[in-house]
């Protein structure tokens, strides 16, 4: 599973992307966030405020209960601020 991190979530984690292999019990987005948080303080700090963590799976916005598959591209980022 390919992970992408953007903006201050990327800055707090200290990494823009990585490939992860979460255990079988990680079936949906919220499971993945829980699992990531336990990987270190950088993840815990980046993801603690769940309300502002947005998730895209295969480049589409999804909810926290969206199911995950092994080959997914999963991106975590704060609310977007483009435009002007």
């Amino acid at each position: 599973m390919k992970m992408l991190y953007f903006a201050w979530i990327r800055a707090r984690i200290g990494m823009a992307e990585e490939v992860v292999a979460p255990p079988a019990e990680v079936r949906k987005v919220s499971d993945l966030l829980d699992w990531l948080e336990r990987r270190g303080d950088n993840f815990a700090t980046a993801l603690k405020e769940r309300r502002v963590v947005k998730v895209a799976v295969n480049q589409e916005y999804v909810d926290f209960d969206h199911p995950l598959a092994a080959g997914d591209e999963v991106a975590l980022f704060p609310p977007v601020t483009g435009g002007h």
Binding site: F6, W8, Q59, A75, T81, G82, G83
Partner: protein, 168 residues
């Protein structure tokens, strides 16, 4: 009149370089004399430096691939909701200075209300759906720009079907 190349219905570009507003808007109606009006919005970088405290700048990060996909989906939605002939979104990324252009939205239609409403729709939706993030440098410190509730509210007003373009 020599045959002019008609613009594709939908043009989406995500780029670091600046764009030429006049040329882009002219291209929207090239070769299509059924178009009666072109509405556009140009977003610019505002100066955030405290008065006289040096140069501010802004850096836009985005999610390559998803950005184009989302902008295309937003533009396709606009073309479903309004009778548009052509539609354009150009969004820049990278480091920008005060006064620099960030984004251009353009919509062309036989009817001015369709062009004007869909242009507002596109910029409102883009601001809450396109995966861009801004970090501002006021010449002293950098900070990630926070999403604003007013942008969510602006996008939310388009959730319902738009008013009839005939009566507006």
């Amino acid at each position: 009149m020599p045959a002019a190349a008609t613009a594709p219905a939908l043009t989406i570009r995500v780029q670091e370089a600046d764009f030429d507003v006049g040329a882009e808007l002219a291209a929207l109606s090239a070769g299509n004399t059924g178009i009666g009006g072109i509405a556009s919005f140009v977003g610019l970088v505002r100066d955030v430096a405290p008065h006289g405290r040096g140069q501010s700048s802004m850096t836009l990060e985005h999610y390559p691939g998803m950005t184009e996909k989302q902008l295309t989906a937003i533009a396709e939605e606009a073309m479903r909701r309004w009778p548009l002939e052509t539609c354009l979104v150009i969004h820049r990324y990278g480091r920008l200075l005060p006064g620099d252009r960030i984004v251009l939205v353009g919509t062309a239609s036989a009817h001015r209300a369709a062009a004007l409403e869909s242009c507002a729709f596109l910029i409102d939706w883009l601001k809450t759906r396109a995966p861009f993030w801004k970090i501002e440098d006021d010449g002293n410190a950098q900070r990630w720009v926070e999403a604003r509730d007013s942008d969510d509210a602006a996008a939310a007003r388009w959730a319902k079907a738009p008013g009839s373009t005939e009566s507006r």
